[in-house]
Symmetry: C2
Subunit: 303 residues, 2 copies
């Protein structure tokens, strides 16, 4: 029997799931291009109804959503919750839409905010739920979690609460350098399969060059002298950019072994990079449904 209807509602895509009381995912739907960017003004209730069509929740069924649907550009803003925050803090900060559909109350999971020693803030939205799910899957309460992507997130968890995090614009900067910069002229049109050797050389170079502004130009010079085969150049650049992320965040991590959360392809690449730096790690698949289920459980035990 369905205990939770869960939505992972991001910028570009929307997924929905029926989840049992024990956390089992009973059914999952991908609604494709129904991300918040594709929802017209006033169109959220209609897309919401479409996402849950036929799943008519029984009384008492929880309905929760995480992701950019709770941002300022989303349905209703769920303001950022300050770190440290775990399931109980997220439950208290849920933004409720009392009648998201007739008789259905929808809770939007807030994103998190933090501030570093310089007083510079950082934000995330959606990753908090993935990390709660990963904690649950692994049966742990502490760890350093890495969610690689367009904007990679590094989160520190202590006693089940996310105490701090930091963002690197890794995937986005890779795309800019690869497609929009002078380096694009010497790179092939497609990335092709990963060249592990060129990738690892990039990771190592990132550490010794001391900064990406400098190391990136090496791709051009190596190409000019035919010292990096064309097909290996995207892998080498990927190594430089991911290596730069690791250089910065591992220095702040004080030797903790990272736990990679996300797609197997990215986790594999980061595992390879970490190995090249002599750093162990482990991986866990994206765990959004598990995270929403954990928040729903915390909601049950909230007075």
């Amino acid at each position: 029997m369905t205990a939770l209807l869960a939505l992972d509602w991001g910028t570009t895509s929307l997924r929905a799931a029926r989840i049992a009381a024990d956390g089992t995912v009973l059914e999952e739907r991908h609604l494709g291009e129904r991300g918040i960017l594709h929802v017209e003004p006033g169109g959220f209730p209609a897309v919401f109804a479409q996402a849950l069509a036929g799943w008519d929740p029984a009384p008492g069924t929880r309905v929760l959503a995480c992701g950019m649907v709770g941002s300022r550009q989303g349905w209703v803003e769920a303001p950022y919750c300050a770190c440290p925050a775990g399931a109980p803090e997220l439950v208290r900060a849920l933004a409720w839409i009392p009648e998201a559909a007739p008789g259905v109350r929808l809770g939007l999971v807030p994103g998190l905010s933090t501030e570093d020693a310089d007083g510079v803030p950082d934000v995330l939205r959606g990753e908090e739920t993935q990390v709660l799910g990963a904690l649950d899957l692994l049966g742990i309460d502490d760890g350093l979690f890495v969610l690689p992507g367009t904007h990679s997130k590094w989160l520190t968890v202590r006693s089940g609460r996310i105490t701090d995090f930091a963002t690197s614009m890794t995937g986005e900067v890779y795309g800019l350098l690869r497609h929009q910069s002078i380096l694009a002229r010497t790179l092939p049109p497609d990335d092709g399969p990963l060249d592990a050797e060129a990738f690892v050389a990039g990771v190592r170079r990132a550490r010794s060059a001391g900064g990406l502004l400098r190391s990136a130009f090496g791709v051009r010079a190596l190409s000019l002298f035919d010292r990096l085969p064309e097909a290996a150049r995207p892998s080498h650049l990927s190594g430089l950019v991911i290596g730069e992320e690791l250089r910065v965040h591992l220095a702040a991590a004080g030797g903790q072994s990272p736990i990679l959360v996300g797609s197997p392809a990215l986790a594999e690449r980061y595992t390879l990079a970490l190995q090249a730096l002599g750093q162990g790690s482990r991986s866990v698949p994206a765990a959004t449904w598990r995270g929403l289920w954990r928040i729903a459980r915390a909601l049950e035990s909230t007075p």
Copy 2:
């Protein structure tokens, strides 16, 4: 009397000058969009004739050009000359076009190449001439020269020879982050005048954040919380990117005081950044004509 006809022939623009035996610039022409990108196949002789029209060189007049005209995409390739290199080495590596115009022999100044401790090469073309000119203007033979720009160059000179250099993609990465990344959404359409306070805060932040991938996202988070006025955001981002360049290259410079070569606007910005880091510096204007004149003098004394 003209002793040297000099051309500064880059990717997008072409300038020419008549220079006297004592280095005085007698006349200068800007030919606008006659950079090598705008020259059709086989079109170099016609543009060359246009650049020097009416200056009919007397027998014995030297004609020299520097810049991308000597690249693989230019008129004739002047292969990179390996460091260390000063005027004598550049003279020996000039690529000659025997009949660039009827009776006129044109020498193309080569670019430079180097290789760092990791075995990664670096290249430049045009900056070698500017640095030779700056040495001459300042009457010195040693120094750490910084040529800020799209691709900033840091050159070490010992006894009149460029012994080593390194490139950072500073200007290009600023443009990509400012106009093409997620940060563009929160930045005003125009950069506006420099906000010195926001710029210096960016330079300082670059040092403590440890890497641009991380520090850049701060612009977004500060904007979300209205903690950085919209008009100050381009200056702050500029400080983050220039500060990142300084972080990496000053660490390798071992306390040497940089000499800035180039446009007064950029030199002013770098001077401000260096001051914020407690690092003195001095500036000298772009000195391409002086550099070509110095190479011409070295040519005179070559057997």
